[in-house]
């Protein structure tokens, strides 16, 4: 109580709205020192930390997003490749089938052609041989007939014995001639 009365008595004359200039000076200087420290050190350090942290987080997110994008791109690519490969395989299979069929058909055709060619060749050969045989027979028969006739005419036809000899000789000649021709 005494304290209160004393302080009321001493401060009663002082207007509380009138500042103490020394106190003002101390507050001004103290605040400016604080402001200087804050401007110079505190705010830059905090801002740097904030910026680094934001960068680290954003960098991490960006990296993760990039990795995810890459992964999905790769997946997409693999799917695409798989589809391509399937299509390709189907196409190749179809082609092979078609080619096989083509080859088979070609072979068949070729075989048919070949057999036809062989047949035709055989026919032609047979024909030509027959022609040759006919020609040679024809000439040989003529010659034979002529020779035979000459021989017959050159010998006495009355004599049976002679006639038989002539015929035998003729045949023997013919045989020897044949044998010589065979050689």
């Amino acid at each position: 109580m005494n304290q209160l009365i004393i302080s009321a008595a001493t401060e009663g004359e002082v207007n509380p709205l009138m500042p103490n200039l020394w106190e003002m000076g101390v507050v001004l200087v103290g605040f400016l020192i604080l402001l200087f420290i804050v401007v110079k050190f505190v705010v830059p350090m905090f801002e740097k930390t904030f910026a680094e942290r934001a960068e680290a987080i954003e960098g991490g997110i960006a990296k993760a997003e990039k990795a995810q994008a890459e992964a999905s791109a790769a997946l997409e690519e693999y799917k695409q490749q798989l589809t391509d490969a399937r299509t390709e395989a189907n196409r190749i299979r179809e082609e092979a089938r078609a080619e096989g069929a083509q080859i088979l058909a070609d072979l068949k055709e070729k075989a048919a052609a070949e057999s036809a060619r062989i047949t035709a060749q055989a026919h032609a050969q047979i024909e030509s041989e027959r022609q040759a045989a006919v020609v040679s027979l024809r000439s040989e028969v003529g010659t034979l007939a002529t020779t035979l006739a000459g021989r017959i005419v050159g010998e006495s036809l009355n004599d049976d014995e002679r006639a038989a000899r002539v015929v035998d000789r003729f045949l023997a000649d013919l045989e020897s001639q044949n044998a010589g021709a065979a050689k």
Partner: protein, 245 residues
């Protein structure tokens, strides 16, 4: 309850307890935040986390929300310093043995309000040129015949009353809180010394009231630091965007 004043209390000259506390607050704030900010770890420790939370409160809760834009960061140091300077100096009043909110002496409040006053005027002039005074006092969209009334009101409220209310709000709440706690303490002392037992017993009621007032004061100490800083941010924002007001 009080530490004694170092040199004559309330004297026009001499180094008082109030001055010591002001300088001590500068040391406390600077030490705490420099220590907290120094390590700059991406994953903060406890101290750094506390410092960042406190810094972020002023940076994002006041500067960014009120001033906004890209250049709010320029005003963060001022707002940050104001908030914690006032906060620590106010909280002195709630600490036993110290128990002196330094802004219960009006000089400090005048100094800070004056600094803010010149700061926002300088910002307004720098941003808008001398046209700023017209922008700040002549509201747009007001009919011409009301202007003779509005312009003096704007001049008085913006340029004359604003710094006064800004400083006195802080000073008066701190002085009043200081006085209430002091009166309650003296009242308790007075009642306890009474002969009458019943009268002596009523000191318990005063004590309960004093504790409640103490809590309220502690709240007001924080709140006034916030209000002072918030108003500073609003004044700066008004000066920056004078042409859109």
């Amino acid at each position: 309850m009080h530490l004694p004043a170092i040199l004559p209390w309330g004297a026009a000259e001499g180094f008082s307890k109030q001055m010591l506390l002001v300088l001590l607050s500068v040391a406390i704030i600077a030490t705490f935040f420099v220590l907290a900010a120094r390590k700059q770890q991406l994953v903060p420790g406890k101290l750094q986390f506390a410092g960042e939370a406190a810094y972020g409160f002023v940076r994002n809760g006041i500067a960014k929300d009120i001033i906004g834009g890209r250049d709010f960061i320029k005003y963060v140091p001022l707002l940050f310093s104001l908030f914690f300077f006032i906060l620590v100096n106010n909280i002195y009043g709630a600490i036993p043995l110290i128990q002196l909110p330094t802004f219960s002496h009006v000089g400090g409040a005048y100094v800070l309000a004056g600094l803010v006053y010149f700061t926002w005027i300088a910002i307004g002039v720098k941003k808008n040129g001398l046209r700023y005074f017209k922008l700040a006092t002549v509201p747009s969209g007001v009919p011409w015949f009301i202007l003779p009334i509005v312009i003096p009101i704007e001049i008085i409220s913006n340029f004359l009353v604003r710094p006064v209310t800004h400083s006195l709000r802080l000073f008066a709440t701190m002085l009043a809180g200081h006085l209430i706690v002091m009166i309650a303490g003296s009242g308790i002392e007075y009642l306890v010394m009474q002969e009458n037992v019943l009268l002596k017993g009523t000191s318990v009621l005063v004590l309960a009231g004093a504790i409640a007032m103490y809590m309220l004061e502690a709240l007001i100490m924080v709140l006034q630091a916030y209000v002072f800083t918030l108003l500073t941010a609003i004044y700066i924002e008004g000066a920056l965007h004078a042409d859109s007001h």
